[in-house]
């Protein structure tokens, strides 16, 4: 039995507990052992939940921690503490990976444990590990991804005729958008994710602040009508361009024959181009309790299979990237075309 702890009993954290509970037979088959949630930490006073990280990191039974708190603190301090004790950490926290992923990965390596963050990009889509492990033979020239389910949901509804304000309100009512939707609709969330992807494939650290970023707030129903007349739709994409080392988040026109065209609602889709394999696309739920938790648990299984060893997440040695300006729009055009 492998004992794990969950930090943060929010949506994703409670999902992790549910996946481990519901799918214990599948996990046993995959891992050759059971996973057991020994501790759940939350800053709130909830019965059965611990508040003190030291109880967890001082327990030699704990081999893997799921950090599903989000935000920089106390997630950074707790992750640091755990990795220094040789406890692997699996996270969905893209903000932390963007800001401290390199440092934390180096600490994990030094202490023979792992720092994995599959769930931080593309929710439930097995993306980072696939790129890391299965695409090593490829020279990847471009990544283009629909990486924010909230924006994609809003744009899917705008395509159906609603204006931005109405579509946003509906997304908020359904719980797909926050009350303060800025991080999503202004593209910052997508920027963090494309920065992580660009870092993984380029071997240089792209950070959130280096991403040119335009959100979806200026898109109008007329834009959709014009796009549709040309057989296209509008998608918010994060795009990494290897050739000139640039990253952008912006609305793009996407043709109706393109595989990303049918990535609708809260789904995510990521397309990459390799010099041998040509185009690959990965599609799935980019957010949501159980899909995101599933990705965290897949990392937990990998860490549990490799106790005492560091899984090379390709982040430990990344030097900062030199980032250039993304190729400009054509004059007179409101959107780039993918």
């Amino acid at each position: 039995m492998i004992n794990v702890a969950i930090l943060g009993l929010g949506t994703v954290g409670s999902g992790v507990a549910e996946v481990i509970e519901q799918n214990q037979n599948e996990i046993k088959k995959a891992l050759g052992d059971n996973l057991h949630v020994k501790y759940i930490l939350d800053i709130r006073d909830i019965p059965g939940v611990v508040n003190d990280i030291n109880i967890i990191v001082n327990d030699p039974d704990i081999k893997v921690i799921c950090e599903t708190m989000g935000g920089k603190e106390p997630a950074y301090t707790y992750t640091h503490l755990a990795l220094e004790r040789g406890i692997s950490v699996c996270t969905s926290n893209k903000e932390l990976v963007d800001a401290y992923g390199v440092e934390l990965s180096a600490i994990a390596r030094e202490h023979h444990c792992s720092y994995l963050f599959e769930a931080s990009v593309g929710g439930g889509i097995p993306l980072l590990r696939t790129i890391r492990e299965a695409c090593g033979q490829e020279k990847i020239s471009q990544i283009a991804g629909i990486l924010n389910g909230t924006c994609n949901y809003i744009l899917t509804n705008m395509k159906a005729g609603k204006d931005f304000a109405t579509a946003l309100k509906e997304a908020q009512e359904k719980g797909f958008a926050e009350r303060n939707p800025a991080a999503d609709v202004e593209g910052h969330d997508t920027a963090r994710k494309i920065a992580i992807l660009a870092s993984l494939v380029s071997g240089k650290k792209f950070s959130y602040e280096q991403v040119e970023c335009e959100g979806i707030t200026n898109i109008t129903p007329e834009d959709f009508a014009q796009a549709e007349a040309k057989g296209m739709s509008i998608k918010l994409l994060g795009v990494y361009n290897a050739e000139n080392s640039s990253v952008i988040v912006a609305p793009f026109l996407v043709k109706n024959s393109h595989p990303l065209y049918n990535v609708n609602d809260v789904f995510n889709g990521v397309m990459l181009h390799g010099n041998m394999v040509d185009n690959l696309m990965f599609y799935g739920r980019g957010a949501g309790k159980l899909p995101t938790a599933s990705a965290v648990v897949s990392d937990v299984i990998e860490c549990a299979k490799n106790i005492g060893k560091n899984i090379n997440n390709k982040f430990a040695d990344l030097a900062p990237a030199n980032v250039n300006k993304f190729p400009a729009k054509n004059p007179g055009e409101k959107f780039r075309t993918l």
Copy 2:
């Protein structure tokens, strides 16, 4: 430097040599070492090529073999020989995996080497490893895949208005279909691939002979017109249904909002449903020299990272599956709907 041998200098075999040559920098980064093609074996008399498998399996330098011959013999005998000497084998040969995959995987395990076959399903798409390694926490209830590029190319052209005979002829002229196209257009190739996928996710061996199989030869332009009127297209799918343990290859109606709808031409797309992650789809080139070779080389890298160890491909212990009849079509309907 890791020495490898390629068996069969056909399309895929020469592609493997090209990927290793062209992308040696990427491979070095991924593996931490170089790959070197020390031998190429072919039954034909080609300068620089060996004809005798014993030269290869008796060379202690050779750690990994790429079997890209296709067909059962001599591929089976050569693979058997290599694995017994502890040499890992990576293959694109779905016929061999279907017929002898369980036996060969057990031999690999016994001799502390690996038998991997990523390229046998979905060409360049990183599919088998992703399902094996990243979806272990999921209970997978269905797989539905466009798994044959030739049929998909023909159907894409039929959708554009051509009849079957014309679309087939064009596919043959472009080299996408064989002179004898039966294995593709009657669905046998897809059947081998869905049998491999069903085996991987079910933990039971589904074999080609157990797959209900209907090809694309009876599809008419009128069928496409009717489908289009309903906002649908017709795709040849291999479908595995976990609930009643059934597998089928047949033309299905697919809605124009479905992610598989935009899988066109020679591309493949595989959708699976997990109880936690919901729908996932993987898309890429299902055939072709370099994409298929890329998948073989990804397996070679994995084997080269694990010399002296067996990578558990999940096939070594598979007992034969009990296969039931796939749910029937609705009365009066020519096609099922996905």
